[in-house]
């Protein structure tokens, strides 16, 4: 039997004016387990707390009930008080007789009766409380960043600057991501490479950063503070330490039929290649699917031409195992498939391109050396049509339901750059809505319309076809004048929807991080914890969480880094003891609890149990208290009642119900 003390607070007149505090004390004195009850003007005051401490010692109390304001207000205070008096802090329960009673009822008798009932419920609960102790786990002071685009680079730099080692895992041979492919950035029109490449170099040279390029995460186990990660370093058949990046081999490689991914396959590259001049690491890589040596065993020109002797056809994939305390997911995005939109002729006509392809065409290092040309005949275009929202904002199988967010701005950028450089080119933009929230964004778009005379047409394009002159005819509608529009043009640029990178589902599964129906990673809280995954220790950076532009990505990357640093700064993690716990003898191992756990905190082990003398190996659930947040979803899902929540156990809540319904 517990020895319970009940402390009724007046809260000045806040409670005492409506609740007869003396009557409450009298009423609870005879409740089971209660051996002390008193009231006081301000329980939360120094004196009030002193009174509680004294009573705990004097009456040898094993549990206390404070009838006062909301537990959201002073539960922590009174837990500390109890702890100072040598009582386990989780032996404290609060009866909320202010917000839930004295403040909302006027009739003193009614309010007093209710206060007594609320006190009884708390007493009934504390009778079943058990001392709980917070768990502890160690923190490995090293972070992993998955993805080496601008999001990953920024997060890595910020974590590294705070003094913690970081590994970046990037699946392609260089870091830089999509931003490296961009020509200019809105709304300032500065060159993407000029602001990105210094950051890439900084990351490469940072003493705390280690880059695993051409590598992928293979497996993740463990939990916050203690992740065990397997990284596959794919064979690039070039010794990273020896290669000087001179690019002699890439020029001499005779296998040149395959597309160059960096230029959106608008031109070709060799089987041995460096993605672009500023690549980090600036090391060649052999694409074994295209290399003649791997197909026929012959050739070997690259090997012969390499003065550093870096080419090594025998290189094998390597598995690296490393421990991490925190993981940042920065897997970014890709352009969604526009081949589904056959009305736009993307697959049929080389002059129908995506905006990313246009970026490469406009870029000085791109396939046309920065000259705007039609890809069909390499001639200068006279008219260009931009089509917005291709694959965004729809609800059919061809579309994404969301707005891709960046297209309105980059189209305004493209339109403006073209009009600036080639005033003879007419630019038309078919749009549904122009969405430009952001600092200096709408001004930017207005400049395109007002200063650069870009022709914005509210309406969509129905179809595009090649006309007799070999140009393209665009059939659309102008909704504002309710007119059919027919335009002859030289190029059509599709603002294709963006979508999370292909491998994100796999990575999310490994991390037990949740993803939404669009494959974007879910935040722990959409408003208050936007850079954390619900899985503790996993953080989100960049477009993997949702469409965003560069400045937003960089801010989120920084925010994620701060969260990582905050975690790594701790030597030990203290975990709330109010977690779920499976009773080994009752657990069926049915896996139902695992399915409803939002944190992946439950796994199963085969364990020998002693069930009243009968020894047998059973499959039973095991809760990792470092991961469990104590929501209780599993406790209700559990058919046998084996799963229970400490601090809010089945019996405790049942006892409260009992006390209230007496």
């Amino acid at each position: 039997m517990q020895r319970i003390g009940v402390f009724v607070c007046w809260c000045g007149s806040n409670i005492a004016a409506t609740v007869d505090v003396d009557a409450v004390v009298e009423a609870v004195k005879n409740e089971p387990g209660v051996c002390h009850a008193q009231n006081y003007q301000y329980m939360c005051s120094e004196a009030g707390q002193g009174l509680i401490k004294n009573a705990i010692k004097e009456h040898n109390l094993t549990g206390i009930v404070v009838c006062s304001c909301s537990p959201r207000m002073h539960e922590a205070t009174f837990r500390k008080t109890a702890e100072q008096a040598g009582l386990n802090p989780y032996m404290v329960e609060i009866a909320n007789i202010r917000e839930h009673c004295s403040w909302i009822h006027k009739d003193k008798k009614e309010a007093t009766e209710k206060a007594v009932i609320l006190a009884r419920a708390a007493i009934a609960k504390v009778n079943l409380n058990t001392p709980l102790r917070p768990g502890e786990s160690m923190v490995t002071k090293r972070a992993l960043v998955i993805g080496g685009g601008i999001a990953g680079i920024q997060s890595a730099l910020d974590i590294a600057d705070a003094g913690y080692p970081v590994d970046i895992v990037e699946k392609s041979p260089t870091i830089g991501g999509k931003m490296a492919q961009l020509d200019k950035t809105f709304p300032t029109l500065d060159c993407a490479a000029c602001i990105l490449t210094p950051k890439m170099v900084e990351a490469a040279q940072h003493p705390n950063i280690n880059i695993y390029s051409y590598s992928e995460v293979e497996a993740v186990t463990g939990f916050v503070g203690n992740f065990d990660v397997k990284i596959k370093k794919k064979a690039r058949f070039v010794d990273e330490k020896k290669c000087t990046g001179c690019a002699v081999c890439t020029a001499k490689c005779p296998s040149r039929k395959g597309g160059n991914e960096f230029n959106c396959n608008l031109d070709n590259r060799g089987a041995i290649y460096i993605p672009f001049a500023q690549a980090v690491p600036n090391v060649a890589c052999i694409d074994s699917t295209r290399c003649i040596h791997f197909k026929t065993g012959k050739c070997g020109i690259c090997e012969k031409s390499c003065s550093a002797g870096a080419v090594n056809f025998d290189q094998k994939d390597e598995i690296i195992e490393q421990k991490y305390g925190a993981i940042v997911v920065a897997t970014g995005f890709q352009i969604s498939d526009v081949t589904k939109f056959d009305e736009f002729q993307y697959t049929k006509h080389p002059d129908v391109i995506t905006s990313l392809e246009l970026e490469r065409i406009m870029n000085a290092a791109g396939p046309t050396k920065g000259t705007l040309l039609r890809m069909s005949n390499k001639e200068h275009p006279k008219d260009i049509v931009f089509i917005q929202c291709v694959g965004s904002r729809g609800n059919t199988c061809r579309d994404k339901t969301y707005c891709s967010k960046i297209c309105c701005m980059y189209t305004a950028k493209h339109a403006m750059l073209i009009r600036e450089k080639y005033p003879d080119v007419n630019v038309h933009v078919f749009y549904i809505d122009v969405r430009t929230p952001g600092k200096n964004f709408d001004e930017f778009y207005r400049r395109a319309v007002e200063q650069y005379n870009v022709d914005y047409i509210k309406g969509m394009v129905g179809k595009v076809w090649e006309n007799e002159e070999g140009r393209l005819t665009v059939q659309g509608v102008d909704l504002l004048s309710n007119r059919r529009i027919m335009l002859d043009t030289d190029m059509v640029v599709l603002a294709a929807a963006i979508e999370p990178s292909e491998g994100v589902r796999n990575i999310a599964t490994m991390l037990t991080a949740s993803i939404d129906t669009n494959d974007f990673l879910t935040e722990a809280h959409p408003k208050l914890r936007p850079v954390e995954s619900p899985t503790a220790g996993v953080f989100l950076s960049g477009v993997c969480q949702g469409p965003k532009d560069i400045p937003e990505t960089v801010s989120q990357a920084g925010a994620a880094a701060v969260k990582v640093v905050g975690l790594l700064a701790k030597d030990k993690l203290v975990t709330s003891p109010c977690t779920a716990n499976a009773n080994e003898l009752m657990c069926n191992g049915c896996s139902t609890c695992e399915r409803v756990c939002p944190y992946g905190a439950i796994d199963y082990i085969d364990k020998e149990v002693n069930d009243h003398g009968k020894r047998e190996v059973r499959r039973i659930a095991r809760v990792n208290s470092a991961l469990c947040h104590g929501c209780g979803a599993c406790t209700v899902a559990c058919p046998s009642g084996a799963m229970d929540l400490q601090g809010f156990s089945n019996r405790q809540i049942m006892a409260e119900v009992d006390a209230i319904c007496k």
């Binding site: 909301s70 537990p71 959201r72 207000m73 909320n96 202010r98 917000e99 839930h100 009673c101 403040w103 909302i104 009822h105 006027k106 009739d107 009614e110 309010a111 009766e113 209710k114 009932i117 609320l118 419920a121 949740s514 879910t522 722990a524 809280h525 959409p526 619900p534 109010c578 409803v596 939002p598 947040h629 104590g630 929501c631 209780g632 979803a633 406790t635 209700v636 899902a637 929540l645 809010f648 089945n650 809540i653 049942m654 409260e656 119900v657 009992d658 209230i660 319904c661 007496k662």
Partner: protein, 153 residues
């Protein structure tokens, strides 16, 4: 808005148990208190970490022990502190209440409301309305007597 002034049934005061999740609805109830938005004293609140902690057995227990109405409040769908708890709770309560209805227990005696921490006003309105409904229904004896059909003489 005072339920106690119900003239028809003046002596009958229903017993209402409200399960509130710690992060939204309990805070909403606190806000109702801070804003002095009254609701009947018959409503007694039990704090749970999340609406998904509400075991149907708690609700059955309340009814069996003589509660006249049970209401469960949680974060609005999409706003759960634990991301997904209220989605599970929503399914569980829908099915449980449908079952109670199937057994002939007045469906107006059970309710689920989503109340955020900012919705003190809503909390008070909901509780007033629910108390009024349950008061009009009168005493609930049905569930406890479901297996107690008197033998025919």
């Amino acid at each position: 808005m005072q339920v106690s002034e119900n003239t028809e049934n003046k002596e009958f005061k229903p017993l209402i148990v409200a399960f509130c999740c710690n992060w939204c609805s309990y805070a909403g109830a606190d806000l109702a208190g801070t804003s002095r938005l009254s609701y009947p004293a018959e409503v007694k609140i039990i704090r749970v970490p999340c609406s998904c902690r509400v075991n149907p057995m708690f609700i059955l227990k309340a009814f069996e022990k003589g509660a006249d109405g049970v209401i469960m409040c949680g974060c609005h769908p999409g706003d759960c502190h634990y991301s997904t708890g209220n989605y599970y709770a929503r399914r569980r309560m829908t099915l449980l209440f449908s079952m109670l209805d199937y057994l002939g227990i007045d469906r107006a005696r059970t309710r689920v409301e989503w109340v955020s921490a900012a919705e003190g006003q809503k909390f008070s309105l909901v509780m007033n309305d629910f108390a009024k409904t349950v008061t009009e229904l009168g005493e609930n004896i049905k569930l406890g007597d479901l297996r107690c059909k008197k033998q025919q003489d």
